[in-house]
Amino acid sequence: MNESSSTQYAAQVAPGDAPGGQGETSVLGYVIGLVLASGLTAVSFYITRSTIFWPPSIPTALVVLAIAQMGVHLVFFLHITSGRDSTNNVLALAFGILIVFLIIAGSLWIMANLNHNMLPMDQIMKMQR
């Protein structure tokens, strides 16, 4: 009974805990995370300030670097992994990402569309006279 119930609980892990449980968290994981995150941050700041890159490509590169860095934070600091014991946490995260995507992409799309369909400001002023 005890054996089976503890195996059952061991099949899940709290977000933040390392796979295998609370005591298994190691300093090495945080060091790797810190190094990767610092590197990505440094690259982001560098490409913003340097003049050797094609300017229109910079925002896209920054967004990609930011998403990569968020992934580093999720894996190395929050210990959200693809392992079986983290399924619930990953599913909740996936749902959160879906909602965030809908809110941001939807707002930008709708507002750009409204902006596009709106009369230019000088014509609105004329109509108000």
């Binding site: 977000p15 609370q22 982001s44 968020m70 809110i103 930008l108």
Partner: protein, 200 residues
């Protein structure tokens, strides 16, 4: 007999820890959804400067880089404090939490300096829709960091007064999750607001 009691206790404690951690994870995701609304309004209003100053003229990337370093370092020391709590080591827990507190406070001081310099340059939140969105987005993150620092000091006091009890350890888990989530939001923030705002 004794071993059985311990294993039943630790199994129910593990279950409770998973439930509490998962519930707090859901809260954090809903907090991130709330932040995404602020991000969306900022992205919509970023060009609505009403003839006032743009981000390019207002943002100081050096200060933002130091703020980022503070928050990233504090995320790391917060992880060290979490490890220390798992090992029941009070001294390294308090040292790591104090380092987290110092870095978080440095971040808030820098952000306060930025806000006051913008207010002095006649670029307060009432000046344009862009600045309203900027102050509500960055200010909302700053308020979260302030609340996090209050929570951090509470956790230090509770560990000092009560030791590493199971319920205190669950609170430390939740605090760690909260602090790392704030750092993730800051990554989105310095990229979308500052770097893309200043990029050529």
């Amino acid at each position: 007999m004794n071993a059985t009691v311990t294993s039943v206790h630790s199994a129910s404690e593990a279950k409770k820890r998973i439930a509490v951690g998962y519930g707090f994870w859901i809260f954090l995701l809903s907090d991130i959804v709330m932040f995404s609304c602020f991000f969306a309004s900022y992205a919509v209003l970023v060009n609505a400067t009403a003839g006032g100053q743009e981000g390019r003229q207002l943002f100081d990337l050096d200060r933002v880089a130091i703020e980022t370093a503070c928050l990233l370092g504090s995320s790391f020391t917060c992880g060290l404090a979490f490890i220390a709590s798992g090992k029941r080591s009070a001294i390294s827990f308090h040292v790591s939490m104090a380092a987290t507190l110092a870095l978080g406070a440095a971040f808030l001081i820098l952000e306060g300096a930025e806000f006051s310099s913008m207010l002095q340059r006649n670029a307060g939140p009432t000046h344009s829709a862009f600045l309203s969105a900027f102050f509500s987005l960055v200010g909302c993150h700053g308020i979260h960091v302030s609340i996090g620092l209050l929570w951090l000091m509470t956790m230090m006091a509770q560990v000092y007064a009560k030791g590493f009890r199971d319920d205190i350890l669950r609170r430390i888990l939740c605090f760690t999750l909260f602090w790392h989530a704030l750092d993730i939001i800051w990554v989105a923030l310095f990229t979308v607001v500052y770097l893309i705002g200043v990029a050529p």
